[in-house]
């Protein structure tokens, strides 16, 4: 790195402070809203810090009496956790073998491009037949049904990520194993999977976050506590005429916590995943 003069250093720190402010201010405000009384939130001029912190919304949303706000949000969180997990596992089950095949056998590569090309399809181009299909199978408003639909988004993405992750793993190991007479499944299980564990973890994390974030399909294909996800529950809460901005903010904080904590804790993994795709694309 080149030497820096004082002016440049000051400039750097000012920019860095501005960036930190830009990122953190909306988060801070979301949190402050969640602990401000309604009165503070509708005062003019606006109060930037509540007169008295008010944690009652957190109590409301963690009170699980049947049919209450808290129970609704909790069941939605539970659904999101399960649906994202099912979809992630299913996506990995099809994309690990496929990603490895494409990585090792370039001859089938064109089919991967076809799969990735489906990323260009907007969900609205699949929604009507998917809706009719799920209805026909009796799978509307089921967790499994929604998880299967999520494969449309997750599977191409994880395959692409895994293929880029498998590429740098040396082939010599496989050749040696093949000479030793290892069967295909043994080779995958004993040699490839342990080496590829980090990239598979990254793919799983991404898939999970994508599924957690999904809104459109969940809005269309779920209707109640049996399958409604947290994104739809939050939208219902905010779209309804809930008078209390603080409650909306609190629900937002709760729904954001899992992915944000995931993101912070596993940021190395995430960044490596983000950039594998981008840099080697």
């Amino acid at each position: 790195m080149e030497r820096q003069n004082l002016g440049f250093t000051i400039f750097l720190y000012v920019c860095a402070a501005l960036l930190a402010l830009m990122i953190l201010a909306p988060f801070a405000w979301l949190f402050i809203m969640s602990i401000s009384s309604t009165n503070d939130l509708v005062s003019k001029p606006l109060r930037w810090w509540p007169v008295e912190t008010d944690w009652s919304r957190y109590r409301i949303l963690t009170d699980f009496t049947p049919n209450s706000h808290g129970a609704a949000l909790m069941s939605a969180l539970g659904n999101s956790i399960k649906i994202a997990a099912i979809a992630t596992v299913a996506a990995l089950m099809v994309s690990v073998p496929a990603g490895w095949a494409v990585s090792r056998t370039p001859a089938v590569g064109w089919s991967l491009w076809l799969v990735i090309g489906t990323y260009m399809l907007p969900p609205v181009a699949l929604a009507v037949p998917l809706y009719m299909g799920l209805a026909g199978l009796g799978m509307l408003n089921t967790k499994i049904g929604l998880a299967i639909v999520y494969l449309t988004v997750l599977a191409p993405f994880t395959t692409w990520l895994l293929k880029s992750g498998f590429d740098p793993i040396p082939r010599d190991l496989e050749k040696a194993a093949a000479i030793d007479g290892a069967r295909l499944d043994q080779m995958l299980r004993i040699i490839i999977l342990p080496l590829a564990a980090p990239v598979i973890g990254t793919a799983a994390l991404f898939a999970y976050l994508l599924a957690w974030d999904e809104f459109f399909y969940a809005l269309l294909f779920t209707s109640d506590y049996r399958a409604k996800t947290v994104t739809v529950a939050i939208a219902d809460l905010a779209g309804g005429r809930v008078a209390d901005y603080g409650l909306i903010a609190t629900a937002g904080v709760i729904a954001a916590l899992p992915p944000v904590i995931f993101g912070l804790v596993m940021q190395r993994m995430l960044i490596s995943g983000l950039t594998t795709g981008g840099v080697k694309g």
């Binding site: 260009m120 907007p122 037949p129």
Partner: protein, 294 residues
């Protein structure tokens, strides 16, 4: 192990993925194509073949032209903002300063925030009477009086773009940052020795390394922006006076609120076509830039 067996084995390994893709994407897509030539309703009738009637009706409709324009504006401006901001932030975080790693970690936060939460957070911020934005701008003297952000057709789309860009610029920034780190040190050193100014260094030394990854990010973000639904659905539902009604919102209305599955399908296919054309143009550009580079 001969080549034929390797290919067969590869196809066998691909099979589960291909079967899944065919059933959750292939079949629905072709069914959408079929539906687009019918007058099917969402519930009840399967519909009759009507030829290109749905397409003709759409192309002559004011709503479609407007939604197309709104979607394009949203996609172009938001992606542009994200790319410029993302590259600038990457250049900043590439410098050596205290707290750099903390800042890099923070960058992941907006990206990890669920889109729906992001949308409602900004909706609260833009609230015309009690929102933080009005309060802030008035208190620091940038604004004389509280104003409407999401209720004014001149500012609603801009407000949406800001909210979307805030969530998505970190992606571009992280990709660019990784690309910056891939620039070999000796090349940078050589450029400094040659006495190239900062701007020239960026243009001739850094940019070629950034171009490829940046184009990938650009394609991804453009496709996503063209498909946009959730953030708009939550913040404005397409209002005021449909000034933020994008194509995806229009398809939702046609197919699900008004139950015209056939017409909704044809509209969805037009969106798909537009995205495909965009992506092909971009990929051609990527090829070109990659070709110029290597």
């Amino acid at each position: 192990m001969n080549a034929g067996w390797t290919a067969t084995r590869a196809w066998l390994l691909m099979l589960p993925l291909l079967i899944v893709m065919l059933s959750v994407i292939g079949w629905p897509f072709f069914d959408t194509v079929r539906l687009s030539f019918t007058d099917a309703r969402l519930v009840g009738t399967g519909g009759d073949f009507v030829g290109f009637a749905n397409y003709e009706r759409l192309f002559s409709s004011r709503a479609f032209r407007r939604a197309f324009l709104v979607t394009t504006q949203f996609a172009v401006v938001s992606v542009l903002v994200e790319v410029v901001l993302g590259v600038l932030v990457a250049l900043l975080l590439y410098q050596n300063f205290r707290g750099r790693n903390v800042l890099r970690a923070l960058l992941i936060l907006p990206w990890a925030l669920p889109t729906v939460v992001n949308a409602l957070l900004w909706r609260l911020i833009y609230n015309p009477e009690y929102g933080a934005l009005n309060a802030l701008l008035v208190q620091i003297g940038l604004l004389d009086a509280y104003r409407s952000w999401l209720g004014d057709p001149n500012s609603a789309l801009v407000a949406l773009i800001v909210a979307d860009a805030w969530k998505n610029f970190p992606l571009v920034a992280l990709i660019s940052l990784a690309a910056l780190h891939a620039v070999p040190h000796d090349i940078k050193a050589a450029a400094i020795v040659d006495g190239a100014g900062a701007l020239a260094r960026f243009r001739f030394v850094i940019l070629p390394y950034l171009a490829g990854p940046l184009m990938v990010a650009l394609v991804l973000r453009t496709i996503e922006a063209f498909k946009v639904f959730d953030i708009i659905w939550i913040m404005t539902r397409g209002g005021p006076a449909n000034s933020t009604r994008t194509l995806s919102i229009l398809v939702y209305q046609e197919a699900f609120s008004f139950q015209r599955a056939g017409s909704g399908a044809s509209l969805a296919l037009i969106v798909t076509l537009a995205i495909t054309v965009l992506a092909v143009v971009y990929v051609a550009l990527i090829r070109k830039s990659a070709g110029a580079q290597f």
